[in-house]
């Protein structure tokens, strides 16, 4: 009998704590598949951040270091430099990476640190209850932007995949989504490429994943999936923004 669907070895056989319709589960799976595909699970160190993604070690069957809020790229720098023969990735949300951790991510990218960053952008702080994030869309209502994000007051959302693409140390940046099968297939390819670049010691690789947060958006999962297509992708276009293989 042919196996057509199985759990990646890099994921533990446990139920997640994520809300119904949340995309973290899909992103976890794609990362795990990449680790399996490149046969790097046993040499991988995951670096968890603060937010919904803090429980990385509960789902991934790899060694994990937990970081202070926003500092995962600095922690990953220390780990990778100390053990350059290991595969290191961070897994961070938008508040963690693009607000409190902006300094750490920019400098790690600029140094061309040889690790992979999985950046989950769902336009809100999920764990703390749906506050405005640095990627919250203009006009989007959150618990701390009750009248909608006002760009004059709060600035415009950061486009991290584009921003980091400007830095010479960066080998690969791309933005993907996981809200429909076509996007999932594309995301799988990009995440796999990011890890392959690390295996090949090409330098810093960065994948921004547009994700839903039905709970904090106050939406049903299907409507949340639709919002990714209707509102997020137009503002945060999918695609590859830097690829040193093409330079």
């Amino acid at each position: 009998m042919k196996t057509v669907f199985k759990r990646p070895d890099s994921l533990k056989n446990v139920q997640t704590h994520f809300c119904p319709g949340c995309h973290h589960g899909s992103v976890h799976r794609l990362v795990a598949e990449a680790l399996d595909e490149h046969k790097i699970r046993s040499e991988t160190i995951g670096v968890a951040s603060v937010g919904c993604s803090v429980f990385l070690y509960g789902y991934f069957d790899v060694d994990v270091i937990e970081s202070p809020h926003g500092r995962a790229p600095a922690v990953a720098t220390g780990a990778k430099r100390a053990r350059p023969d290991r595969i290191v990735f961070t897994y961070q949300g938008d508040g963690d990476l693009a607000a409190i951790g902006m300094s750490e991510i920019i400098h790690a990218a600029n140094r061309g640190e040889d690790f992979t960053v999985i950046f989950v952008n769902n336009t809100t702080y999920g764990m703390t209850g749906g506050q405005m994030a640095p990627t919250t869309l203009p006009g989007q209502k959150t618990s701390t932007s009750p009248y909608g994000r006002d760009v004059k007051n709060d600035g415009a959302p950061f486009k991290m995949a584009e921003l980091l693409a400007q830095l010479e140390g960066v080998a690969f940046t791309a933005r993907v989504a996981v809200n429909n099968p076509k996007n999932v297939l594309q995301a799988k390819k990009m995440i796999s490429t990011a890890f392959r670049y690390q295996v090949e010691k090409k330098g810093f690789s960065f994948i921004e994943v547009l994700a839903s947060c039905p709970t904090n958006w106050g939406m049903q999962p299907l409507a949340a999936n639709q919002r990714v297509s209707d509102e997020m992708i137009p503002y945060f276009p999918l695609g590859i923004y830097r690829n040193t293989a093409n330079l």
Binding site: I45, V54, Y57, D63, E66, A74, A76, G78, S103
Partner: protein, 365 residues
């Protein structure tokens, strides 16, 4: 730097820290420039890299301490160094390291504060160092060198103690000790047996066990259990790792107590006092955490008067008062940081004489 025929080298306190780190097998240094400690990163940027180690000038003190966290989590020896304003920024990371039971060495060459303060020698970060400094309730090992030789020896000890107890260790000195040069012996690293780092995150290859370095404790009773476990470990430190120096305390009627640079000056002052017939001694804590409480208690069995001297308005004095017998009196002479804050031995002698008079008038000759 060249080794002399006498086997001694003549180096700055800050350089001694850097050289000790190399001898201790430190593999990674992460730092950020700040006066008066920049000799440490400058030295290591040359020498650590030559030896195949890692040197990164981080984007900030926050970046540096978290790089230390990451490197240390993989089981290698690593360090950072800074001064007041930078040490404040590092407190977040130190708290996470304490929470994750990570070793790591932090060197603090104290300067004047609060705020931007100044670069004069100061001891006003005693509280910050010995009370943990960050959030959540923890302690770190704190060692206070009083000479360039001790800058070297105690930095090496900091690596050993930190690995042994899985607690971050801080070497607490000031700009006077950091900037002065002395002839010292480059002692070889002590070969002691330390617990292996089976907890380290290195990828699962080898042990096929998932290792997680974390400080989040959400399980029922987990956080409380962690606190009591660490409490017991801090107690073990207090029982076995207190270090101090006593000078002429046996017959002393007044015991001067000070740490770091101040103790060094005080030592000469008590020698001068002895020459004038005053029965004065010195108690110098070398480990500030664990604080040598029992040693103070024992001293106060026979000597009821102490004179605490600090380059602040008084911080260590709290620990001294908590340690000595209840009927002992602790006087204070403070020189908060500022231009010319370091007292001369002659000035301390004057203070010693003044307080000695009080002792005699209370006690008789």
């Amino acid at each position: 730097m060249s080794v002399n025929e006498t086997g001694k080298v003549f180096i700055k306190g800050n350089e001694a820290v850097a050289m000790a780190a190399l001898e201790a097998g430190c593999k990674c240094y992460f730092g950020y420039p700040i006066t008066p400690q920049s000799d440490i990163p400058e030295y290591l940027s040359r020498e650590l890299v030559k030896r195949g180690g890692v040197f990164i000038q981080a984007e900030s003190e926050i970046g540096a301490i978290n790089m230390l966290l990451g490197a240390s989590a993989t089981g290698v020896r690593a360090m950072t160094s800074s001064s007041g304003p930078g040490i404040s920024l590092k407190q977040e990371g130190i708290s996470y390291m304490a929470g994750a039971e990570l070793p790591g060495v932090i060197v603090d060459i104290m300067r004047a504060g609060p705020g931007l303060g100044g670069i004069d020698a100061s001891q006003a970060d005693y509280f910050q160092a010995t009370r943990g400094g960050g959030h959540g309730g923890y302690r770190i090992i704190v060692l206070a060198p009083a000479s360039v030789q001790e800058m070297y020896d105690l930095t090496m000890l900091a690596f050993d103690l930190s690995d042994q107890y899985r607690i971050p260790a801080l070497v607490l000195a000031d700009s006077a000790i950091g900037q002065m040069k002395e002839s010292i012996v480059l002692n070889a690293r002590k070969q002691i047996s330390l617990p292996d780092k089976s907890w380290a995150v290195r990828g699962r290859a080898g042990d096929d066990q998932q290792n997680v370095v974390k400080s989040l404790y959400l399980g029922d009773g987990e956080m409380e259990a962690f606190h009591w476990k660490m409490h017991a470990r801090y107690q073990t430190l207090s029982d076995y790792e207190c270090r101090w120096e006593e000078v002429m305390t046996t017959d002393a009627k007044l015991i001067v107590t000070a740490f770091g640079s101040t103790s060094r000056i005080a030592k000469t002052a008590i020698t001068m006092a002895r020459e004038e017939g005053l029965k004065v001694g010195l108690m110098r804590p070398i480990s500030l955490f664990p604080f040598p409480k029992k040693a103070y208690a024992q001293l106060s069995d026979h000597c009821k008067y102490f004179l605490d001297i600090e380059l602040s308005t008084g911080q260590m004095i709290d620990d001294v008062r908590l340690s000595v017998a209840r009927d002992a009196e602790v006087f204070f002479y403070g020189r908060p940081p500022g231009a010319g804050s370091l007292p001369t031995p002659e000035e301390l002698l004057e203070q010693i004489k003044k307080f000695y008079q009080t002792v005699i008038s209370h006690q008789g000759d």
